[in-house]
Symmetry: C2
Subunit: 148 residues, 2 copies
C-alpha cells in the first residue's frame, strides 16, 4: 500500500485525512483487478484490520465514489452493486447476460467523443464508464434446440 498512489493524492488534495480505514479500503480496491462487492470489501477489511468498523467501510466507499476514484455498477443480483477502480478515470467491460461474467477491455476510443461532449453539453468531463451486454461463447446454445 504505497502512499504514493495517485488516488491517495486525490484524497489528500481534496482535504481528507489519510486514515487507516481509507487507506485500507483503497488498498483493497487497488489490489483487486476486477469488480468487488461491499460484502467482499468488508470481509477483507475484517481479515486485514479487524479494528476497522463496517460503517467506516461504507463511508469510505461513498467517499471514493464521490471523488470518482471508484464506481458502483450493477451486476445482476440487484441487492448489491460491485465497485470498480476507475484507473485513469475510466473503465470498460462487457457483461455476459447469461452468466453475468465480466470481460474487461482497455481500448475505447472515446477521447474524441469526450472532447466533443465537453463543448456540446458544456461539461468538464473527468471520466467515463462503458459497458457492453452480450452472450459469451460458453453461454451460447451449442447449435439447435438445446434446452437449459
Amino acid at each position: 500500500m504505497s502512499e504514493g498512489s495517485p488516488h491517495i493524492q486525490v484524497l489528500k488534495d481534496a482535504g481528507y485525512r489519510l486514515t487507516q480505514a481509507r487507506l485500507t479500503v483503497l488498498g483493497i480496491l487497488e489490489a483487486e483487478r476486477g469488480h468487488i462487492t461491499s460484502a467482499e470489501v468488508l470481509e477483507r477489511v475484517a481479515a486485514l484490520k479487524p479494528a476497522i468498523g463496517r460503517a467506516s467501510v461504507f463511508r469510505t466507499l461513498d467517499l471514493l465514489t464521490q471523488l470518482g476514484i471508484i464506481r458502483p455498477t450493477y451486476n445482476g443480483s440487484s441487492l448489491t452493486p460491485t465497485y470498480v477502480l476507475m484507473r485513469d478515470g475510466h473503465h470498460h467491460h462487457a457483461i455476459c447476460t447469461g452468466c453475468q461474467r465480466f470481460f474487461e477491455f482497455d481500448d475505447c476510443g472515446l477521447e474524441a467523443l469526450s472532447r466533443s461532449l465537453e463543448q456540446t453539453l458544456n461539461l468538464q468531463i473527468s471520466g467515463h464508464l462503458l459497458e457492453f451486454y452480450g452472450i459469451c461463447a460458453a453461454c451460447r446454445p451449442p447449435a439447435a434446440g438445446a434446452s437449459a
Copy 2:
C-alpha cells in the same frame, strides 16, 4: 400503453405472459424520458393500479433487466439504482458529479468498437451503456478560491 411496443414483443417472444403488472411497469418506464428509481415506479404503480403488489413490481424490474429492456445504474447515493429504458438496446448519458443531474445524448459512434469486441472477446453483443462523469456549468466554481 399500446401493445405494439417492441418491448412487449420481446416479452411475448421470450414466452412470458402479458400481465397487468408487467404491462403497467413497462408503460411507466416507457413514459419516463430519463431515469427512474424503484421507489418512483412503486409510487406510480400504486397511483395507476393499486391492486398491483410491490413484489410484482420488483419481479418485473428484474425480468425487464434480464431481458435487456431496462438497465439499472447507480448515481452517487448508492442505496437505490435508477432504471433506464434501453431504447434500441443502448443508452448514453453524462452525470454531473456536483448535482447528480443526467444529461442524455444520442451519438456514441460505438458500432465499430462493438463489432470489434464481438470478435476479440467472442461475444454476441446486444447493447451497451455509456456514461461520462463531469461537472456541469452550474456546479462549476464561479472563478477563483470559492471554498465549499
